[in-house]
């Protein structure tokens, strides 16, 4: 199988990797680059567990071709926060918005994309923004509350 070189920025760091023909970005990130935060859920674009930001937009790594991200900027949950957790990560812990945690990296990236473009979302806008991410544990309410908490905290600050 032919290997193709691909370069991109991952969480602010330049990366160079080889991608196989037909390999999706999720597989490239997990096996080729070692970023295990985007999760494999369905491989069909239904669950949102593999959500990453491509040039700031939430997209599904399982449905992106690895070679199609040449020169693009990718952000994953690995790059959230620094020495301290990101406010969204803190809020998810505070609100018990993760149980098994499998959907959490995708949820966090969908939430980050929302708050980056709309710092003061309504509850309906939050529901719409995480509409592409499935969670089978929490019933969504703690996740919605956590995202609204971060928005409210930013408004106060």
């Amino acid at each position: 199988m032919a290997l193709k070189p691909v370069t991109f920025t991952l969480n602010g760091e330049p990366k160079a990797a080889f991608t196989e023909d037909g390999q999706n970005l999720l597989d490239l990130l997990r096996r080729g680059v070692g970023d295990l935060s985007p999760k494999y859920g369905c491989g069909q674009g239904t669950c949102g567990a593999c959500t990453i930001l491509l040039d700031g937009e939430p997209q599904l790594a399982c449905l992106l071709l690895g070679e199609a991200v040449e020169g693009r900027r990718i952000d994953t949950a690995t790059g959230l926060g620094g020495p301290a957790p990101h406010p969204l990560q803190d809020a998810f812990m505070e609100r018990f918005a993760a149980q098994c945690g499998y959907c959490t990296p995708g949820m966090l990236m969908a939430a980050k994309a929302l708050l980056d473009r709309n710092p003061g979302p309504t509850r309906e806008e939050v529901i719409e923004a995480i509409g592409g991410n499935l969670c089978r544990c929490t019933g969504y309410e703690p996740i919605i509350a956590a995202i609204l908490d971060v928005a409210a905290e930013r408004k106060r600050a």
Partner: protein, 264 residues
């Protein structure tokens, strides 16, 4: 046989490379599912031609490059008449990826935007420049070739176009049924009625019986009731995991009546 991906800088090169036996990769929300499942073998062709992502005004309408995403349509103020349609497609991630060109080829139960374009009488610009009515393309999509752009006229009266999607899960759910209706009026009479639907056949299609019930008359409750009663006549709704053919046939009129009722 493994998958081989070919990227081409222009639509013309991609068209030549497509030839026979290769498949085209647009936004990826349909084809990559099959690639991931190992159902695609052989050549996959894609194009990075910037014209595929272009939206440009054209007379009384707009030409939309085949690679323009649902999110790009939703963000374009000139395409307000399509906003309710594209906002009903998938979740935010899918809308950032799925393209208008790909939606023309989406299998049942997808194709909400294609149904809206069918109701609006869109024209399809093929790679190479040939134009054809959207009906022609939808009739036989397997031999369609590569689509370069979609041309669609803005409804002269914004209230003359309506869209309704029926799904079991909100905000993101695939369609049990979707209806798009274009009801232009001349002197109080409906002229050029087009009713398109998803879920009443294997691809987005028009309901000739509902259109006949409305054409030439005034848009009133009695006309709406007649169209609703006839909407599934001559059509063959599919049975799938979402709904049976019987259910779709039973409720089609209810939902068309709700849509048309909003347009009275």
């Amino acid at each position: 046989m493994a998958v081989t991906v070919e990227s081409h800088g222009t639509i013309a090169e991609a068209q030549r490379a497509l030839g026979s036996g290769a498949v085209y990769l647009g936004g990826g929300t349909i084809l990559m599912r099959a690639v991931n499942a190992g159902l695609v073998q052989g050549r996959v062709v894609r194009s990075t031609d910037p014209s595929l992502s272009r939206i440009r005004p054209m007379g009384d309408g707009v030409e939309i490059g085949a690679g323009v995403t649902m999110a790009a349509i939703a963000a374009n103020p000139d395409l307000g008449f399509l906003h309710p349609v594209v906002r009903a497609v998938g979740g935010p991630q899918v809308r950032n990826m799925a393209s208008i060109g790909g939606n023309l080829f989406a299998e049942h139960p997808y194709g909400d935007l294609a149904a809206a374009l069918l109701a609006l009488g869109a024209r399809i610009v093929m790679a190479g420049g040939m134009q054809r009515p959207i009906e022609d393309l939808l009739r036989d999509r397997s031999r369609a070739g590569l689509v370069a752009a979609v041309q669609v006229s803005r409804p002269r009266d914004p209230r003359a176009f309506g869209f309704l999607k029926v799904s079991r899960v909100r905000p993101k759910g695939v369609s049990v049924l979707s209806f798009a209706a274009h009801l232009p009026r001349e002197g109080g009479r409906l002229r050029g009625v087009r009713i398109a639907c998803v879920g009443l056949g294997p691809m987005p299609l028009r309901s000739p019986s509902a259109e006949r019930a409305l054409e030439g008359g005034a848009l009133d409750a009695a006309a709406v009731a007649r169209a609703a009663a006839l909407v599934a006549e001559g059509l063959d709704p599919p049975t799938d995991a979402l709904a049976s053919a019987w259910y779709r046939r039973e409720v089609a009129g209810v939902h068309l009546r709700r849509l048309l009722g909003r347009m009275l």
